[in-house]
Amino acid sequence: MGWDFHSDFDHLSNQGTNHMRTTGMKRALLGAAIAAFAFNASAAHAATATGTATAKILRQITLTNTSDLQFATIISGATASTVSVSTAGAVSCGAGLTCTGTTTAANFNVNGTEGAVVVVGGDANVTLNGSLGGSMTSSLTYSNATITLGASGGSFQVGGTLNVGANQTAGDYSGTFNVTANYQ
């Protein structure tokens, strides 16, 4: 609306030419203000009569997955070998294999009460099935057994060692593994 309540009062004492009009407007404004006040008062009264508002803050935990465990692309050789991705994401390509692409360790961020100790759990092994047949297994390694959350939470990583067979069938291999963040 753009009306300034205080300047209206100033006008009242000025006894200006359009006095009647401003007074009328003021009355309307004042009436509205009083009505609003009365309404507030009754609302406040009602609130105290029925009880107090309460809010309980619960302790929480959050788990977010920010990167996947990536072995990237592997060209198998004539003998069985392994590819390891450390929990830091570094690759170690076994003899006879060719590894290309960017490898990463899986990363999980945990947030919650500062100082809280969270137990990390998960599968030790995973089986991967190929799109054109064949399968592989991978062992999984976890960076932490427990995390003590700091002010900005904490994180843990999952790496793995993939067992690649001799002349492993080409294809896209996929598998799933379970990971949990556990409160005691």
């Binding site: 996947d68 990536q70 072995f71 899986a106 009460t113 598998g175 799933t176 990971v179």
Partner: protein, 274 residues
């Protein structure tokens, strides 16, 4: 006009930042509270929230876990559960068991308890697991040389567990702090101490390590439990090198009840950390 251009530039930068966020964050989750204790008559509520960027379907289930002497939580198949563990699974009811949530949509999970008559006094516990049901495994991200290579897509199914504890009858427990030492391994330094428990329920609380003359605690760790299935456990807390160095020598270790339960001392001990 310049301001408009600036605003647009900001918007464009924001859009780019959004694009660079990995798309596989579907399934991220929040759970509150982090521990539930029921006295056998009243139920409670647990909140699950989808904090991911995409809608996700979550499954809620009860798991059996046993604490190990090293302080880990071993997953036990339902067929291997003992009578007390089976009793816990039977007395805890909850709903819903499956829910699809858009981003930032919380869901209340109601947890009820019904203790059958004649249940022996004791602590009955299961662990409530919240986890997203994964989408069909996504195809490989990187192109591979035709016909020769193998590419790998490993999808984590990740979740959170919180203990749901039902106490039946008058229960009591005490704990005692044992030896304390600092260890070094390939994974880094850790502060360790033994914790023993007696009685017929779990103990749960916070650890504070202090030194006379040092104002700030050297180490604080919250939410350390010893469950009734074990009489002793080792508490091993990963610490940065500089904290490990400071911890060596005489310290006071205090194990206190949860702040929400008054924070009373469970045990307190002077130890010389080796």
């Amino acid at each position: 006009m310049l301001r408009l251009f600036k605003a647009f530039r900001l918007l464009a930068a924001g859009a780019l930042a959004l694009l660079s966020v990995p798309a596989h964050a579907a399934g991220d989750l929040l759970v509150a509270p982090t521990r539930v204790i029921l006295d056998g008559s009243r139920g409670t509520e647990v909140v699950l929230n989808n904090i991911g960027a995409e809608p996700a379907t979550y499954r809620i289930s009860l798991e059996v876990k046993r604490m190990t002497a090293a302080g880990g939580l071993d997953e036990i198949a339902e067929s291997d559960a003992n009578d007390a563990e089976k009793a816990a699974l039977n007395m805890i009811a909850f709903s819903p068991r499956r829910v699809t949530l858009p981003p930032n949509q919380p869901q209340v999970v109601r947890v009820g308890v019904r203790v059958p008559e004649g249940t022996p006094p004791g602590e009955y516990r299961a662990h409530m697991l919240f986890r997203a049901v994964p989408d069909a495994a996504a195809a490989t991200a990187e192109p591979r040389p035709a016909g020769t290579g193998v590419s790998i897509a490993l999808t984590p199914i990740y979740g959170i567990t919180i203990p749901v504890i039902v106490r039946v009858g008058e229960l009591d427990a005490e704990a005692a702090i044992g030896e304390a030492w600092v260890s070094e391994s390939d994974e880094g330094a850790a502060f360790n101490f033994d914790l023993t428990r007696t009685g017929n329920r779990s103990v749960y609380g916070d650890i504070e390590v202090t030194r006379a003359g040092v104002a700030e605690p050297l180490l604080v760790a919250r939410g350390i439990a010893v469950y009734p299935e074990i009489a002793a456990r080792q508490v091993s807390l990963r610490v940065p090198q500089e904290v490990a160095a400071k911890l060596k020598g005489p310290v006071r270790i205090r194990y206190t009840e949860d702040r929400e339960l008054g924070g009373g001392t469970i045990d307190e001990a002077e130890r010389v950390v080796k």
